[in-house]
Symmetry: C2
Subunit: 232 residues, 2 copies
Amino acid sequence: MTQDAGADAGKAAEVTYATIRRQILSGERASGEWLREGDLAAVIGVSRTPVREALRRLAAEGLVRHEPNRGVQVEDWGVADLDEIFSLRSQLEPWGCGLAATTGLADLDTLGRLADRMDEEARRDPPDLDAITELNNAFHRGVLEASGNGRLVGLVSSVVEVPLVWRTFSHYSPEAMRRSLAHHHEIVQALAAGDAEWAESVMRSHVRAAWVSLRDEHPVAGQPRIEPPGRP
Amino acid sequence: MTQDAGADAGKAAEVTYATIRRQILSGERASGEWLREGDLAAVIGVSRTPVREALRRLAAEGLVRHEPNRGVQVEDWGVADLDEIFSLRSQLEPWGCGLAATTGLADLDTLGRLADRMDEEARRDPPDLDAITELNNAFHRGVLEASGNGRLVGLVSSVVEVPLVWRTFSHYSPEAMRRSLAHHHEIVQALAAGDAEWAESVMRSHVRAAWVSLRDEHPVAGQPRIEPPGRP
DNA sequence: GTCTCGCGGATTGCATACAATATGGGGACG
DNA sequence: CGTCCCCATATTGTATGCAATCCGCGAGAC
């Protein structure tokens, strides 16, 4: 009864997977925490079998680490991971965004509405960061889907599904937030104009601005700051 | 007795996973084929539990498709997938190769030896395509590992692990084969010179040549040929 | 003749019982 | 007093039994 709410999908493995995944991404399960099959089974109200299945899926996605005969623990992430993730994003997302400008697949109305709704949520006091996060992820996914390359969507998703990154907006300053929201509208305009280079460029700015914002929130004393690479 | 050979690793789930994965990549399991848990368990000599675990892992990696309450079937791939895969590769691998030129992480001796051994295998009559495939994959992995971005290695691996691509060399003409082998040596030289642009450029040529070779081997009558995108 | 309903076999999904393995502490020995 | 071994315990890995679901086929009604 702990989590199932009213209408469970009839699939124990699925709700187990969704529950644990959500708990990890929200930070409810701390990095390094051991996930015992028995405990999870008892809490969620299923047997160990679907729990094992869920843990294997999460391990394949890189959210948890599976040590044979030892158990499963939540993966831990640091600034080095942030650099890996964002250097990849700043390579893939601008490219996909540029493609999306010319495929004609982009649903500009939907993307525009998502950007508008993010503006609304941001104006609330206090802003609903979870809602903004969800809208932002939907926006980025929508852009990449318009690239026409389904694997690109999956790759970027698998890379950004990390607590630090997933909750990007929790770390934004008001100014960074405003700039990010403005980028979204500019991206829609670039896509509408069918200008691949513009679209690519805005998305690159968007991603790299996020990179810097997150880096500033996660300084690691003693570790040398690695500046985002760039052309002189 | 079917597959376990002498020294099984003591882990039924692991050997099951490895067995099925190898069968799919080698083409032994055809696209669209249904993988019944019971059958696999009987053939491999384990119970259904580790089989289910292996199938879930393979599903998470995209090698098989899992339909709830129906079963698992081998994913089927076509020319469209080839285009997705190679447009991604021609974006990621050259970038990673360029990075590898300046990180100083590249083990040039090992990479050089891999390229040499591929030459040797190619000179045999007939060439051992499986051996060449293995060496080639090790070479590409080695280059990407030298980029210093571990996630890049995983991403590219997950994308190229498709039968059509995995056995790239089975479709090469002698000329394409020679050119490909020459590229490997040139990549090592570019890395040794620390010239990122050279390294990136050679890898891009290498990947795009492979793209064209594979496309020519998998023409689909009736479907319009989509030329690889390129700048004028 | 065609459409619908219901039944039977096959297969997956889940739960539970048992076996294998790692961990930590206590005691004997040097 | 320190070290090593051994066993108790917790946890994972595997096997098996049962319930739920899906698919195909055939009988019956219109």
